[in-house]
């Protein structure tokens, strides 16, 4: 069982307090809303894509430390990736936070591994996945709203 200190690692607390890539993007190519009806968390992800690569990604929204840090870390992680690579990273991240089997995380996850602890907090998995589901929805060019429920 992951302890509280491991759940709320320094990296997470830092990204919660000082979220990276926070703000709206003018003239975004893709954009999607994410909503977790359980806790009321909402966020919007904005993307600019050039020649199949994510050149800019930002987010705005309110949420708990886990959801905010996850969104911030995600934007850092997917910037510069091809759309295919971003979707692959989504799958790897999703497996990491939901898979009950202990295993080494793919290298690509990098810093995102600090969020692995949410696996042991089933009620908090959706906090960590909200930004990613929203990204996925944006990439699928779904201008509507995505919900974790």
């Amino acid at each position: 069982m992951t302890g509280l200190r491991e759940l709320y690692q320094e990296v997470i607390l830092d990204h919660n307090k000082h979220p990276r890539n926070y703000g709206e993007t003018d003239g975004a190519d893709y954009q999607a809303d994410g909503y977790n009806p359980l806790c009321g968390d909402r966020l919007v992800v904005y993307l600019k894509v050039h020649e199949g690569k994510i050149t800019e990604v930002t987010f705005v929204g309110s949420g708990c430390a886990i959801s905010k840090a996850s969104a911030s870390l995600m934007t850092d992680a997917v910037k510069g990736l091809s759309l295919t690579a971003a979707k692959e990273l989504f799958d790897q991240f999703h497996t990491m936070i939901t898979d009950k089997v202990e295993r080494d995380f793919p290298e690509e996850l990098g810093k995102l591994a600090v969020l692995a602890g949410v696996r042991d907090y089933p009620t908090r998995i959706k906090c960590a996945s909200l930004a990613w589901h929203t990204l996925r929805s944006a990439l699928d060019n779904n201008k509507g709203s995505v919900s974790t429920e």
């Binding site: 509280l4 709320y8 607390l13 359980l38 806790c39 009321g40 949420g63 708990c64 430390a65 009620t123």
Partner: protein, 412 residues
């Protein structure tokens, strides 16, 4: 143990609730999520167990012994609720699944019969979603308007505004007796009198009120009163609708089926009398019997002992939480029940909930099915500690200690 707790004699009550003996994350459970649901005393658990072990049969019309015993147990429970709410007759007590279904019953039956295009339904800004959505649905169907009476910064209904919104177009007032997210106790007698002066019937949502204070529907003179069993120390899946007999008589059935009929042919069906008219199909018999046991248990302890104990918890808890740095209480009405909603600077309610849970303290976090209240206070969510008769000052001390852990992780 302080003298006031000794005096209230409620410390022994804890032993009646088996679940309070369990541990969570290796620590004693401190259960402070009573506004979501209360725990069940042994007396309720035993009655439900005994019903299935010894009495189980379908009620009504059976001529065998088990059916007769089950029917008697069911009817006794109805009588128990009638006494508990001080209704005139047990024909005025309808069993439903929960408060939500009780409100939907009134919206669909009374509402569709009496509320027409251009009419208005008046509710307040502090309603639970269950006392908003059914009226929105009805309003859409019949082209009526939903009017919202505002609340002030302390979470109190602004009575002048409420009164101003009562017009000749108002056809129903539906108001929460005690707010689940703010703890506010509404001046329901005054509300009923004002509405009746304008010839408007009133529904009171008593889901939170019934386990904190005695409710007398005759003295309130409300037209409908709804509550749910699982917040009343009873089982889930059983709720109550009280309605004045003359009004219930005038209402068409909500659902059709078995048990709610007098005679059926393919040409015509005549409906059963109250209360069966509104209880189509086999009801939650064990749940009703369990709820009967719960109100009996509550009556034996008595609100004369519960109320002072809970008001001590409210006063002690308000002071204790106010001393936590960066903590702000949401809902500070003059008249409040033992519900403390709060936010903490630098820490989201969800994170607060996870951290105190690790200390064995169960609280609720989120919008508490009152999103308009959250919007009114400009916050996405609150953390909420809500106390019942078996809570103690030590439970509140444990919460405050757990909140110190929150401060360690999230310095303000």
């Amino acid at each position: 143990m302080t003298s006031s707790e000794e005096h209230s004699l409620l410390s022994g009550v804890r032993r009646d609730f088996p679940i309070l003996q369990r541990t969570v994350h290796g620590r004693p459970l401190i259960y402070l999520d009573n506004a979501a649901t209360t725990q069940k005393p042994r007396a309720v658990l035993d009655v439900i167990d005994n019903y299935y072990t010894d009495k189980n049969a379908n009620i009504h019309r059976g001529v065998h012994v088990l059916s007769e015993e089950a029917t008697n147990a069911y009817n006794d429970a109805r009588h128990g609720i009638q006494t508990f709410l001080n209704a005139r007759s047990d024909r005025e007590i309808i069993f439903t699944r929960n408060s939500t279904e009780s409100i939907n019953l009134v919206a669909n039956s009374f509402g569709r019969n009496n509320i027409k295009s251009g009419d208005e339904i008046l509710i307040t800004h502090m309603e639970h979603h269950s006392n908003i959505v059914p009226w929105q649905m009805l309003s859409e169907q019949v082209n009526a308007k939903l009017k919202i009476a505002p609340i002030d910064d302390r979470g109190q209904l602004i009575m002048d505004e409420f009164e101003a919104l009562l017009t000749s177009r108002t056809k129903l007032v539906s108001v929460v007796h005690l707010s689940n997210s703010l703890g506010t106790i509404n001046p329901v007698k005054e509300i009923v009198d004002l509405a009746h002066d304008n010839g408007v019937p009133v529904l009171l949502d008593g889901s939170q009120a019934v386990y904190h204070m005695p409710v007398d529907v005759q003295s309130l003179d409300c037209d409908f009163y709804v509550c749910t069993g699982h917040k009343l120390y009873g089982p889930t899946g059983v709720g109550v609708l009280y309605g004045k007999e003359t009004i219930l008589e005038s209402m068409p059935p909500y659902q059709g089926g078995g048990d709610m009929i007098r005679a059926v042919s393919f040409e015509k069906t005549t409906y059963a009398d109250l209360p069966q008219k509104f209880e189509a199909g086999t009801p939650n018999i064990a749940g009703v019997v369990g709820l009967g046991a719960a109100v009996k248990y509550l009556r034996n302890i008595g609100f004369s002992r519960i109320a002072p104990h809970e008001s001590d918890l409210l006063a002690y808890g308000t002071e204790a939480l106010s001393s936590v740095p960066g903590l702000r209480l949401i809902g500070t009405a003059d008249k409040k029940a033992s519900i403390l909603s709060f936010v903490m600077s630098g820490a989201h309610p969800h994170d607060i909930g996870t951290i105190v849970d690790r200390e064995g303290v169960a609280i609720r976090t989120g919008h508490h099915c009152t999103q308009p209240v959250m919007d009114r206070f400009g916050i996405p969510a609150t953390a909420r500690a809500s106390f019942a008769m078996y809570n103690t000052r030590q439970d509140i001390d444990a919460l405050v200690q757990a909140l110190e852990r929150v401060r360690e992780v999230f310095p303000s």
